[in-house]
């Protein structure tokens, strides 16, 4: 990482500390091989088992390490810092990854899976169908992966042949993204952070474009996400360069030290910080840098949306926390004002634009923007309370979002999901359980007490008020009051308005989706009623400078 000489000094790799990361990335490579060598029939099953096993093992390792009280270490020549914060974030990420992977793997909601058909499966399906029509080139998938199947699977859906299996490449993608997230929120120098950022982004870009239904929408979202994402990471990178020029090193602690005692001009420092923050904020879909969020949330396959909404936010805010606390803690007073504005902008934008949405996934997207603003309140309080509050908020928000998106994916009409608000009219009469779960999660997003959303908001706001951010907190409260309106609108639709005769059907979820949704709802409830354990764990988290 730091050139030849110091590489050899870094021979001693603390494998214990890095085990989760290695497990995830290693299994990702293995699952690529699985893609290569396991025959089509077993592939999906093998991949699912492999992925889940990897995540579970990694989670166990994290928990063991967190409970065994091993001292925090900085590993790999100072590029990764495995401290209690990293462990908490890792635990959160892995815990969130499990339901996401379950949803991704589910093939009961959307026959054959929510993703583009696998070329081989497609070929077999065509043979089964007797190759009636010459293949028309539909949407070319990533790298010529024959997502031509999309159109075909859609067209031949009516016929007897079952739709072909989905791309199982999504599993390695998810694993790589997950590994990138793990590295991202534990990165101790900006270069590692940048590389991790890309490692987590690139698979996501691809995943967004792989929806089986609404190919064009999905591909558009992928293109937008990619272009804007690359744009943002360029900013991030330029910020890194400036900071490197300022401090002569990209190590966070070195930057802090240089900023603390240096007579150099601060223009480099703050310019670098600004650009850096732009990149990070983009990833976290904060405030003015959110433009990609609604489109991508809407266009991407819903399981992927869930994965992004939950895990990416966790990773991004983990990195934001680390940068703010470790690298720029000393100089907080100079730059905090600007970020106040950003936080307010984020909350207001998310709330106001959320009011105007009629597509549920877009609504969730805007609410995530608003929530990013709330989270930022916690990040801006450079205090232990702020840290723990933000961490807890991430955990709570992730599970709620996954549950919501899982439920959204269940409401389907003839062509894929019916995300329009009107589709939810009278859902309560048709399937009371789904309606109840969904309204519970929405109330959680609104921050009604006895849900995790409230506990999290309370933690963050109290931290913010404790650090003298009264204006922010007030704006936050008002915004959440306004935001409650568009959550309620859905509930009104579901409960109070009569069901449309030709309304969408609620497909009975298979075991995988059911498990993930249940997980999300239960955690949302638990964190609302007895959050003590999680709060304590979060409160114990400290950075290792």
């Amino acid at each position: 990482m730091q050139g030849g000489a110091s590489l050899s000094t870094a021979l001693g790799v603390d494998y214990g500390a890095l085990a989760p990361l290695f497990i995830i990335l290693g299994v990702a490579c293995v699952s690529v091989l699985v893609e290569a060598f396991v025959p089509l029939a077993q592939r999906a099953r093998v991949q699912l088992v492999l992925t889940l096993a990897a995540i579970a093992v990694a989670l166990v390792v994290v928990i063991v390490r967190a409970t065994s009280g091993v001292p925090a270490t900085i590993v790999l020549a100072g590029s990764l810092s495995v401290d209690s914060v990293s462990l908490f974030l890792w635990g959160t990420l892995l815990a969130l990854a499990i339901p996401s992977v379950l949803m991704i793997a589910d093939r009961s909601v959307e026959a054959g899976g929510a993703f583009v058909a696998d070329p081989e499966a497609l070929a077999e399906a065509q043979e089964r169908a007797g190759a009636r029509t010459p293949v028309t080139v539909g949407a070319g998938g990533a790298g010529g992966s024959g997502s031509d199947g999309a159109g075909r699977a859609g067209s031949s859906r009516g016929s007897a042949t079952p739709p072909p299996e989905m791309h199982t490449e999504v599993f390695p993608f998810v694993l790589f993204a997950l590994g990138g997230m793990l590295a991202f929120c534990a990165a101790n120098d900006l270069l590692t952070m940048f590389v991790a950022l890309e490692v987590l982004s690139l698979p996501l870009y691809l995943l967004c474009g792989l929806a089986r239904r609404r190919r064009v929408l999905s591909q558009e979202s992928a293109v937008k996400y990619f272009l804007l994402g690359a744009f943002a990471s360029a900013f991030f990178l330029y910020g890194v360069a400036l900071l490197y020029g300022y401090a002569g090193s990209v190590r966070l602690s070195d930057i802090a030290a240089a900023a603390a005692g240096s007579l150099r001009s601060d223009s480099l420092l703050y310019g670098g910080l600004a650009l850096l923050v732009v990149g990070l904020m983009f990833k976290a879909s904060v405030g003015p840098f959110h433009t990609w969020t609604p489109d991508v949330y809407q266009g991407a396959p819903t399981p992927v949306t869930a994965f992004m909404a939950a895990c990416t936010k966790v990773a991004a805010f983990g990195a934001i926390l680390r940068v703010f606390f470790v690298a720029f803690g000393p100089t907080a007073l100079e730059w905090r004002g600007v970020l106040w504005a950003v936080a307010i902008a984020s909350m207001v934008i998310g709330t106001v634009l959320g009011l105007t949405q009629t597509d549920l996934k877009r609504m969730v997207a805007y609410s995530s923007v608003a929530h990013a603003g709330f989270l930022l309140i916690g990040c801006l309080a450079i205090t232990p309370a702020g840290l723990s509050g933000t961490l807890f908020y991430l955990l709570a928000y992730g599970f709620t979002t996954i549950a919501i998106l899982g439920l959204i994916s269940l409401v389907r009409s003839g062509d894929g999901e019916a995300n329009h608000l009107s589709a939810y009219a009278g859902l309560a009469t048709r399937s009371p359980v789904v309606a109840a779960a969904l309204s519970f999660c929405l109330l959680a997003l609104a921050g009604v007490p006895l849900t995790s959303g409230f506990t999290a908001k309370f933690a963050v706001f109290s931290a913010g008020l404790g650090d003298g951010e009264a204006p922010l907190v007030i704006v936050g409260l008002v915004c959440s009051a306004i935001a409650a309106f568009f959550y309620l609108r859905v509930i009104v639709m579901m409960y109070f308005s009569p069901p449309a005769p030709d309304g969408p059907s609620v497909s009975l979820p298979g075991p995988l989706t059911t498990v993930s949704i249940t997980l999300g709802v239960v955690v949302t409830l638990l964190l609302g009623v007895v959050p003590t354990a999680a709060l304590d764990w979060a409160a114990a988290a400290r950075f290792l400078g």
Binding site: F37, P119, E120, L122, A123, E124, P134, V135, T136, V137, G144, S145, G146, D148
Partner: protein, 441 residues
């Protein structure tokens, strides 16, 4: 500049050349340039003669002694042909493409060491235009910049054949550039430097062709692929693509492409000589005489070694039929690259072991395990491929939009033993005799 390090140590030549005055540099450049032009003319003549001899016919023997002036005459004739600009062509690019493909071919030769330290007009210098710390990379860079000229020419012609030809040549050049670069790595590993002069200096003890045979073979093969020469001359496969990327070119522009091709041949042969055949160092029996590596003699050794390669070029063209495109890509991607990867691992493993542990110890075994693993993976990859299903939907794309001849003529792949069967032997003759007409275009 910094004081001269002792001779035959890395960086010596750099320091030496750093003191060159400008006039000396210019002289060298002009000389090299002229040399390359002459080599081109001579090569065309030699090729036609040799191929003719291989085909039991005299070849050009009318203009000048042994027809030596034949290629000069061809060049002049080309100059007086009409310069056609197709209406559909994108003119600026069409205009600049030949230049782009010509320049790097010449520039690459600048890093080649032709000989040891000599004294020119009382000025001590090395027989080398420029010695750079990244000399080898410069050579490779030039060879890959050259492909831009080809791609742009094909694209700018606004015509299907050149487009496909240029695409092919781009694909082929980049594919074989990988093998090329990977094979060089072995040399760099042992020389410990990227400077050509240092590499030559490092071969004082022995040529790398003996030390790194695999690298040499890979390099030799991909050298041919890199220069679009038979049997890899698919970009200008007359039978499929008319003239390939220069279908629409005529007159001096065409001549420039031609020039570039032959200069590339010469340059790459020179690089090969430098990397594997000890550059200007005298071959074995002569090397016993100390004076062989002094003064101006080495140029002789160098050029003669270079001609070995050039002759092989011609020889291949005379003997081998043109490969089919899929066979060709398979050779590059499925054989050359994995082989050279494994080779690199093996070589560097041995190197590390020799440097660090005199003897074999436990970690060594583990290491061998790693290597074996990699090998095993590659072998596993070499399992008989399934019929890839995902290309099936693509084929209509190829033929879909506008009438181009299908890129890959779907010839049923012949079992390997029938390669050298009768009809293809005929094709050999056809190919061999195909080239002169191309010149007389």
């Amino acid at each position: 500049m910094n004081p001269l390090p002792p001779p035959n140590t890395p960086g010596y030549t750099q320091a030496l050349l750093a003191d060159d005055p400008l006039w000396l540099t210019i002289i060298k450049v002009v000389v090299v340039f002229a040399l390359l032009l002459l080599m081109t003319l001579f090569m065309i003549w030699l090729e036609r003669r040799v191929v003719g001899r291989m085909q039991q016919r005299p070849g050009p023997n009318w203009n000048g002694p042994f027809g030596l002036l034949q290629s000069l005459a061809d060049g002049l004739k080309l100059a007086f042909k009409e310069d056609i600009r197709p209406t559909l062509a994108d003119f600026p690019v069409f205009f600049i493409a030949p230049v782009i493909s010509t320049i790097p071919a010449f520039v690459a030769f600048a890093v080649i060491p032709l000989g040891p330290e000599v004294s020119i007009f009382g000025h001590h210098t090395a027989l080398q235009v420029a010695d750079l710390p990244v000399g080898v990379l410069v050579a490779m860079a030039c060879s890959s910049v050259g492909v831009y000229g080809i791609v742009l020419s094909g694209w700018a012609s606004g015509s299907p054949y050149p487009l496909l030809g240029s695409l092919r040549s781009a694909a082929q050049v980049i594919s074989y550039e990988l093998a090329l670069g990977l094979s060089i790595i072995g040399v760099v590993l042992y020389a410990g430097s990227l400077s050509t002069a240092d590499i030559v200096a490092a071969q004082a003890s022995g040529w790398y062709i003996w030390l790194l045979p695999v690298s040499f073979v890979v390099f030799a093969i991909s050298m041919v692929g890199e220069t679009n020469r038979a049997p890899f001359d698919l970009p200008e496969a007359e039978s499929e693509l008319v003239g390939g990327f220069h279908t629409e070119y005529s007159s001096l522009k065409f001549a420039l492409f031609f020039l570039a091709e032959y200069v590339n041949m010469v340059t790459l042969s020179a690089v090969a000589t430098t990397l594997f055949l000890g550059g200007w160092r005298a071959p074995w029996p002569l090397s016993l005489w100390a004076g062989a590596n002094e003064g101006w003699f080495p140029i002789i050794w160098f050029i003669s070694k270079m001609f070995v390669f050039l002759f092989v070029y011609i020889w291949l063209r005379g003997t081998l039929p043109r490969q089919r495109y899929d066979q060709f890509m398979r050779l590059g991607w499925k054989i050359l690259i994995p082989v050279s990867l494994v080779w690199i691992v093996a070589v560097s493993a041995l190197r590390v072991l020799r440097v660090q542990y005199g003897t074999v110890s436990a970690p060594v075994v583990l290491l061998i395990g790693f290597v074996v693993l990699v090998v095993a993976i590659v072998v596993a990859v070499l399992l008989p491929d399934r019929k890839p299903a995902d290309e099936a939907p693509e084929e209509p794309t190829v033929v879909s939009d506008y009438p181009v001849p299908p890129l890959d003529l779907t010839v049923p792949p012949p079992p390997p033993r029938r390669r050298r069967s009768v009809p293809e032997a005929k094709e050999t003759a056809a190919v061999g005799s195909g080239s002169p007409e191309k010149e007389d275009a």
